[in-house]
Symmetry: C3
């Protein structure tokens, strides 16, 4: 199955990708490396839902945090497709960086980030298995619950 077929068979629709909210670009390719800017958990309408706004450990539940992380990963893939015209040039997801807007004592950071990791493996299959760093941060742009950045190998 191609990556695009896997998207369809899983009912995943990539949104029109968000424009950067400041003076930078969504992705930069350098040789076979593709670096994707941190993506927030914006929904398909380009907006941050109330359920995906705020902190894990305060107003955002684990399930909503996981859904937010999944949205970040969907938005990462939307940016890649906007740059390359397709997801097929992806050889490998090298790394995801996961930033969770959380309290200082939140206990389920990896479980939240799994929402992004699981989506990447669901869409890309084995080449979607990536190195990962997950941290709980004091604050994120727009008070988003999750932000995910990525590095891919592309051919």
């Amino acid at each position: 199955m191609s990556i695009e077929e896997r998207l369809r068979s899983n009912g995943i629709e990539l949104p029109h990708p968000a424009a950067p909210i400041a003076n930078y670009v969504p992705c930069v390719r350098s040789g076979s490396l593709l670096v994707v800017s941190g993506q927030l958990c914006l929904g398909p309408d380009g907006k941050l839902a109330p359920a995906h706004t705020g902190k894990l450990g305060v107003s955002v539940s684990l399930a909503d945090g996981q859904a937010a992380a999944r949205l970040c990963a969907v938005n990462v893939l939307a940016q890649v497709r906007a740059l390359l015209g397709s997801l097929e040039p992806i050889k490998r997801c090298i790394r995801l960086g996961g930033f969770i807007n959380s309290t200082a004592d939140y206990g389920s950071l990896p479980q939240v980030m799994n929402g992004a990791s699981d989506l990447m493996v669901l869409v890309l299959g084995d080449p979607g298995r990536h190195a990962r760093t997950t941290i709980g941060v004091a604050q994120l742009p727009l008070d988003a619950a999750v932000e995910v950045e990525a590095m891919f190998e592309v051919g």
Copy 2:
């Protein structure tokens, strides 16, 4: 215009770059990739000004935060020039990572980081347009207001 000419025409002077404050190096080149250590918002005198010390949302204003982020970017370029002897080998700024020392409810993280992004584009032109991740962190070395790390493609 060369990069060095753009520096001069914009009145930007790169400082004598700061020595790492611990057991590491400012930049590492690996093939065409150049990775620059997180740079703090030290001034041209190598010191952290009171206006650029502390947290956004407490003691540091948005304007001071933007100036701090710009200083970080200037210091990134100073490190690159110290390693390569010139900025001309820069083909592209691939990525900036922006770390803002902020309260848990600070609302203008991207605007602060624009101070760094705008400087990079001002100096490098179109090849200065980079992928970017901005997060608000609990604390930074020396209680600096901003820290910026970078990755470049060099030729």
Copy 3:
């Protein structure tokens, strides 16, 4: 002296590397780049010691934080050896990212991270000298005191 000899002569034993605590992999190689997932300060028994759990500035002392950072670096090397079968293919440590679980006013972040940097230089010698970014974060997985991610050049 080979890297493995330097390990032995310094009495450093690499543990059986920890399995990722979620749906990702410990390391990804892409060409000459090797990216290592954020490693927590798990001990040789694969467990997080109470002394290496919690925040710098609250319950974790500077000395314990440094020991935790050193453990993270040991675990990074254990993951590299598990993937490559040996540490000898390492040409260079390009970058360490250091995430310190800290209060909002903790004052010794770089000193904590030195525990990781010093170990890397001790084991790899001059090629162990790396670019580095150190930040204080709100929270880490398992409430670990320190997490370290890495990028190497391998041959």
